[in-house]
Each structure stands twice: as structure tokens, then as C-alpha cells.
């Protein structure tokens, strides 16, 4: 963790609260996304929000992943502030979980085929959710 903290400090940014989904490590050592599940309607989200975004019901903490399926994907080829194109992004439907936007490993590689199975990897030192294609 110390190395990660040092990296975080090496990348200054003006915002103190990171809005991206938080990735943690499950009891099996594999990554999970922290989120919520609605006690009323069952809606899931990859964010620790106070209420359900679909029905405003009460929510409970939940963890999702590590496996999922690519719903769609693209490669961004234009300059984006703080990033080096090209980079692949995928919307991944985590099994029994929400759709999350993730960077695709290896960095700079192609977009994964839609429908392919992917697995969460550790978040990047700067906090991006990442997935890699399951061979």
C-alpha cells in the first residue's frame, strides 16, 4: 500500500473525492467492486450511494465481480486531458452485478470483442477500474 500511496501523491489532482467505483480485494484474493444493492427493488450500482437510483429505496453494501461480460467497447484515439491515446474502454456487465466502465489490459491494446468474458484486475495507481480478457 505504501508504494501505491506514494504513487498517488506523485500524481497531483485537484479533487479530493474520487467518483470512480472503488476496487477492493475479496477473501479469495481477487478484486471486487464496492457498491450497493437496493433492499426494495434489487437494483445494483457500483457506487456507495445513500439511496437506490432507480426507486429511492434503502440500500445495503454489496461487492461485485470479479467476472463479467463485455457489453460494448471502443478505443479512444483522441487526446483526453491527462491520458495518452489510444486506450481501450469497455462497458462490462459484472456477473449478478452492475455495468461498469473499465480500462482494458494490456494498456494500449485493442478493444475486447463484445460478449467476451473478462475479469477485474487491480485498479490502476491513479484509480481506474481495469479488466483483462479471460483466456
Amino acid at each position: 500500500m505504501a508504494a501505491v500511496d506514494a504513487l498517488e501523491e506523485a500524481v497531483p489532482h485537484p479533487i479530493t473525492v474520487d467518483p470512480r467505483p472503488q476496487v477492493t480485494t475479496g477473501p479469495d484474493g481477487l478484486p471486487r467492486v464496492l457498491g450497493i444493492r437496493c433492499r426494495a427493488c434489487g437494483e445494483v450500482a457500483a457506487y456507495r450511494w445513500p439511496r437506490c437510483p432507480a426507486c429511492r429505496g434503502a440500500v445495503e453494501p454489496a461487492e461485485f465481480g470479479p467476472d463479467g461480460t463485455v457489453w460494448s467497447a471502443t478505443v479512444v484515439r483522441i487526446p483526453v486531458s491527462g491520458r495518452t491515446p489510444p486506450y481501450a474502454l469497455a462497458y462490462v456487465d459484472l456477473d449478478a452485478g452492475p455495468r461498469v466502465l473499465a480500462h482494458v489490459l494490456p494498456a494500449g491494446g485493442p478493444a475486447p470483442v463484445i460478449g467476451s468474458r473478462v475479469r477485474l484486475a487491480e485498479a490502476t495507481p491513479t484509480g481506474d477500474v481495469q479488466v483483462e480478457v479471460v483466456p
Binding site: 478505443v75 484515439r77 483526453v80 455495468r99
Partner: protein, 377 residues
């Protein structure tokens, strides 16, 4: 007791990259033309749509033309900011809160961004690097995967709208491109190429609304609706942005007392990217699901086709200064319904539809969508 509402006048600046002109100048072009068109010298209130501001921009541009003291309200609803201003102005007239209201949309993009809009750092997906072209690219890639469109059909939307803009002197870009040229232009976010993306634009557009009196140049507002997005996720049956357009259109058609969108003669819809027009024509019910791309390729949605879409050239060609876009769409449909659209006139158009959809907030199926139905004098 509520009023029937009409558009009494419209105006726009030129649309394009014009960093040498400030928003005072661009807004003056739009408001002066709209006031002249409406035959008025003053209004009772102003709603202003803008996304990137800056703070105070509405009062700053209005005071330069002597519009001070009256209520001025600024609204932001992403790409639907201009039509949101229109919707609120309409409601103010309909309910009798004010008699004559100006809706104004303004945006200067060229001085704010080098290229594409910088993704919003306080949004999860913005912070992850999801530039707006990439959000639409996700929908386009999904369509290609499902066989709901082909690359050539995506490109056909660009070919059509750039050709329409040849007849629109206010448009930023126009041209006779081929499908091959569109597909060969630089890749922005796979599968969307440069000519499938709206440009960086500066501009202003305005409309004067008041009670309908049956005047010979009044375009009546038959009905409109505004919605914000509900969650869009793994359980959604359609691509991002489809359902909010479908649901808002259903509301607007009901408000207008219309049973079938096919009764509409001319449409201006949100084609910030080619896939946007395809998804929108399907969501509106104008074409069958999965037939939006084929309809564009066949010419169904071209001038001279059964349902002309974006005769102005759309956002792809006219340009897309976010806050101004919705009111530029209103202006185009107003000119169409008054038979004043010149070489891009849809013959005999009696009923027109405007649709604007804005997005960028993660998890939601769009920040807002506005659909307006307008009727010829």
C-alpha cells in the same frame, strides 16, 4: 385557464468556429433577428440555455442589448439546454406567468476546448476518460455487433446531413462526401470516424414565444415534453439514450394530441454523432427497431424522402454549440413550417418535430431530453 402558445420569431448567429467574436456579438445576432422576426422590441422574461457558461454570461450578453431588470433565468441540461430554455419559456406563457418570453441559447466552445469536450472529472465515467465520442461509440459498436447497423449505414447519416447543409448558409460544414470518404476519415473512437462527429462550434440561437393569436407567421407549439434520465445499466434492453427519447416523445405526442409520429413532416433531431440519429429515429418510432441505419442509407430520412430528418444539416454539419443547438433546431423547424427554408424546404410541411438529448452523467440514460411538436400557421 391556459394559453395556446406560438413561436412569434426566431433568429440565429452563424454557427462555426469563431473565437474572434464574443458571446455578446453572437447573442446579438440571434436576438436581433428573433425580435425583428417577431416584430417586438421587448419581452417580459428570458430563459437562457448554456452549458459551459461562464457564470453571469446570460446577464452579460443581455445587458449589452438593453435587456435588463426583467427576470433572467439560466438553465443547464447538457445538449438539451436550449430546448430546456424553450420548454420553460413555453410553460411561462402557457400558464400566463409572462406574456412574451425570449428563449436564448448560447455557447462558445472554441475558446473553451482544444478538441473534444474535456470529460467531467467529478463524474465517474468522465474521470475514467470516457470522452463523449466514446460514449456514443459504445452504442455504435453495440449496433454493429448486433447487426442492427453497418459501418456504411452509419456513414450514410453523415453523407446525408452534410449534403443537406449545402443549402444552409448558416452551417459550419457542408459537402458532398461519399460513404467511403466518411469511413476513411480519421478514427476518433472506434467505430466513429471524424466525419461522424459534430465539430467544435460557437453560436447563439433565439426564439420569441407568446400567446397564439392566429397570426399568419405564428408557428404554434402543439405540445412538448421534458424528461431526465432514469438508470441505464445491465438490465436495459437498449443502447444508452434510446429509452429516454422514446419516453419523452411519447409524452410530447400525447401532449400534442397526435397518435402517430409518422404524421410529422419534418424533423430536427440530435445527431451529435451518426449513431445518435439512427438510435433517435428508431426511438421516436419513425422507423422500425434496427432499421434506422438502413432508412438513412435508402434515403427515407433525406430531403425528398418519406420523413426528412435534419434538413439543416443537423449537429453534424450546422455545428453543435451546446446551449444554442436546441434553439437552432426550433429555428429550422419554424422556417420549414413557414415555407421559408429555401433550397432545403420540405414541400408542404405542416407538422414538425424537434428532439434534443443531452448526457454525460454516469448511470443515467441521459441528463435530459426535450421533444417539441410545432405546427404551421
Amino acid at each position: 385557464m391556459t394559453n395556446a402558445v406560438a413561436v412569434h420569431g426566431v433568429g440565429t448567429s452563424h454557427f462555426g468556429r469563431q473565437p474572434e467574436r464574443d458571446l455578446v456579438a453572437l447573442a446579438w445576432d440571434a436576438v436581433h433577428e428573433a425580435f425583428t422576426d417577431a416584430g417586438v422590441e421587448e419581452v417580459d422574461a428570458v430563459w437562457v440555455g448554456t452549458v459551459f457558461g461562464p457564470p453571469g454570461v446570460a446577464q452579460r450578453v443581455l445587458r449589452a442589448m438593453g435587456i435588463t431588470g426583467i427576470p433572467v433565468i439560466t438553465v443547464e441540461n447538457a445538449c438539451a439546454s436550449g430546448t430546456t430554455a424553450f420548454a420553460e419559456a413555453h410553460e411561462a406563457v402557457r400558464t400566463g406567468r409572462y406574456e412574451r418570453v425570449l428563449a436564448l441559447g448560447i455557447e462558445q466552445m472554441s475558446t473553451a476546448f482544444d478538441g473534444a469536450i474535456t470529460p467531467e472529472d467529478t463524474d465517474p465515467e468522465g474521470r475514467t476518460g470516457l470522452a463523449l465520442p466514446a460514449l456514443y461509440a459504445m452504442a455504435a459498436a453495440r449496433y454493429l455487433h448486433l447487426g442492427a447497423a453497418t459501418p456504411e449505414q452509419l456513414a450514410a447519416v453523415s453523407v446525408k446531413n452534410h449534403a443537406h447543409a449545402l443549402h444552409n448558409p448558416r452551417a459550419q460544414y457542408s459537402g458532398r462526401y461519399t460513404v467511403e470518404e466518411v469511413l476513411a476519415s480519421r478514427m476518433i473512437a472506434d467505430p466513429l470516424t471524424l466525419l461522424q462527429c459534430c465539430p467544435t462550434s460557437d453560436g447563439a440561437a433565439a426564439a420569441v414565444l407568446g400567446p397564439a393569436t392566429g397570426g399568419s407567421r405564428e408557428v404554434r407549439v402543439r405540445g412538448l415534453a421534458l424528461r431526465s434520465g432514469v438508470p441505464w445499466n445491465h438490465a436495459s434492453p437498449h443502447v444508452w439514450g434510446h429509452d429516454i427519447v422514446r419516453d419523452t416523445a411519447a409524452d410530447a405526442l400525447a401532449a400534442a394530441g397526435l397518435a402517430d409520429v409518422a404524421d410529422v413532416d419534418v424533423l430536427e433531431v440530435h445527431d451529435a454523432f451518426t449513431i445518435g440519429e439512427i438510435v433517435t429515429t428508431e426511438a421516436l418510432g419513425l422507423v422500425k427497431p434496427g432499421d434506422g441505419g438502413a432508412a438513412a442509407a435508402r434515403g427515407d430520412t433525406a430531403l425528398g424522402g418519406a420523413h426528412p430528418v435534419n434538413p439543416s444539416g443537423g449537429l453534424l454539419s450546422r455545428g453543435h454549440p451546446l446551449g444554442a443547438t436546441g434553439l437552432a433546431q426550433i429555428a429550422e423547424i419554424t422556417w420549414q413550417l413557414r415555407d421559408e427554408a429555401g433550397a432545403r424546404q420540405v414541400e408542404g410541411a405542416r407538422l414538425g418535430l424537434v428532439e434534443t438529448m443531452g448526457g454525460g452523467v454516469s448511470v443515467l440514460d441521459g441528463n435530459a431530453c426535450v421533444v417539441v411538436l410545432l405546427e404551421a400557421p
